[in-house]
Symmetry: C2
Subunit: 330 residues, 2 copies
Amino acid sequence: MGKRRKIGEFKIIERYFSPLAADEPGALGLLDDAALLSLEAGQRMVVTTDTMIAGIHFRSLDAPEDIAAKVLRVNLSDLAAMGATPISYTLSAALTDAVDEDWLARFTRSLASDQARYAITLVGGDTVSTPGLLSFSVTAFGSVDAGRELRRSSALPGDLIFVSGTIGDAAMGLLALRGELEKLDGALVEILVDRYLRPQPRIELGRRLVGQAHAAVDVSDGLVADLGHIAQASKVVATLEASRVPLSPAARAALSSDPSLITTVLTGGDDYELVFTSPPETALPLERLADEMGIALTCVGSVAEGSARVRVVDAAGREMAISNAGYQHF
Amino acid sequence: MGKRRKIGEFKIIERYFSPLAADEPGALGLLDDAALLSLEAGQRMVVTTDTMIAGIHFRSLDAPEDIAAKVLRVNLSDLAAMGATPISYTLSAALTDAVDEDWLARFTRSLASDQARYAITLVGGDTVSTPGLLSFSVTAFGSVDAGRELRRSSALPGDLIFVSGTIGDAAMGLLALRGELEKLDGALVEILVDRYLRPQPRIELGRRLVGQAHAAVDVSDGLVADLGHIAQASKVVATLEASRVPLSPAARAALSSDPSLITTVLTGGDDYELVFTSPPETALPLERLADEMGIALTCVGSVAEGSARVRVVDAAGREMAISNAGYQHF
């Protein structure tokens, strides 16, 4: 059962992972059977989990720093979409023989940097050696005032639909990594690739949307698919105006040389922006919030009564046929 | 990125996993970005996580019912070792092409059965398709009164060391599955194999030890190794009397035809019994508890001051050399 590496599981934990848990007494130094988490009165624990596998969710040759950032941040993005404040996380790592101490040092340094950035600590985990694929499972914990969380099911007819930041960059970054955006300027390619490799979870925005937004989700499967999750959970029709979807200069440049990339923008995943619905009277406060935070918040459509679905319309209001409504993991 | 199966991720979740979350409103039907967990005032959340990979922690051809029981129960055993009451769990599944709907139906029926048995519900998870190895990560949640948890670091000089049930059965079960116990009677082999395939976490015992035991750990890496975790965390010497380690009739029969199997008993893992330290004055109450619960609790040694280590001694008190101090995952 299993096999020995040059450095054993306990040494790996002691040398690389325990330091990540040093600031949280409840982690018990990663030396006990389980960790202890506290919750203030009136709060609820928000829990999310994601598994990422080499060759599917990241590339085996991605820098360990980028892999660390991705596996952690996609979970923080789920917390953001609930309006939660991140607290801590557990990490299960299935390591291959290709993972040496240098790799582990870089991987865990990146986690340490994100721990400082997002004010979280490692509280538990599991490290196993696998003859299969390098993979990581993170379970992230956050807190939210009871009953105040942003759900997918709370969109109401009459709501406007907003997205943060710009959409489509990450999916275009993946195309660029595959050599499919050859005409694009190198500096722009770099911006897109960075969006793909290093998600920026909208944690502070999610917290600030509590009490303002009705429903929220993060853009991980693709804008149309994720908006579809809101439409389905809330049993409403969401109309998305394609021409209003905010684009970065890099995405705009790519799109101008190949207009068919609009499908990539609308259905590509991995942006980790927030898409949320909010009543019209919040438009002005949201504008002020956007200014204050320096994050674009763009109205891209509206919610109406009707059967649960997403209508994508062009600038003239004509419904567009979207062939692939978002990345499915299968 | 990824590939499609005949049945998509969302269908798998809807058909097989969502029903497991139906009784817990905080699971949000597995349809939101995250789940919501509550905690009563004065309690702490106990969190543990384990990843199990085909070919390492279970055999690919094991029955889906057994795989489900194992991935869930090893986590519940960690909660038991903390004295916690299980509440819920998340499950990340990396599924291969070999997993069809019949397999999923059997796997999730087994989870449903364990949910009823242990009064827990699924609250979240992630399902991905992998070209690699079938694997599962479970994160389990329990609760314990703040400050009352059973830690590994609380053993005190003068404590007695107890184990629940019998030790070595699971490791012998694995030997039997490998055809290495050919002389043993078929009915006895079956008992040992069942102990290997279907752990019985000592949850109720763990809860009842709160306030009685000082330190506790579950026997997953092997009795000597796990007792070593207590010795290290508590900075004490743990003396284990090999001749007092409780054996099942099946293990005794195997041992009588091959005395060298004592090493397997002492260092084999996967028993998922509890080993704990407790002051001498609790011996009588523990005896009554054992009677009441119908679980053997056997004194197998004692704790003394000294450098953190385990001494294994024979019936004459001579220190035994144990070659392999327990299963290491690497």
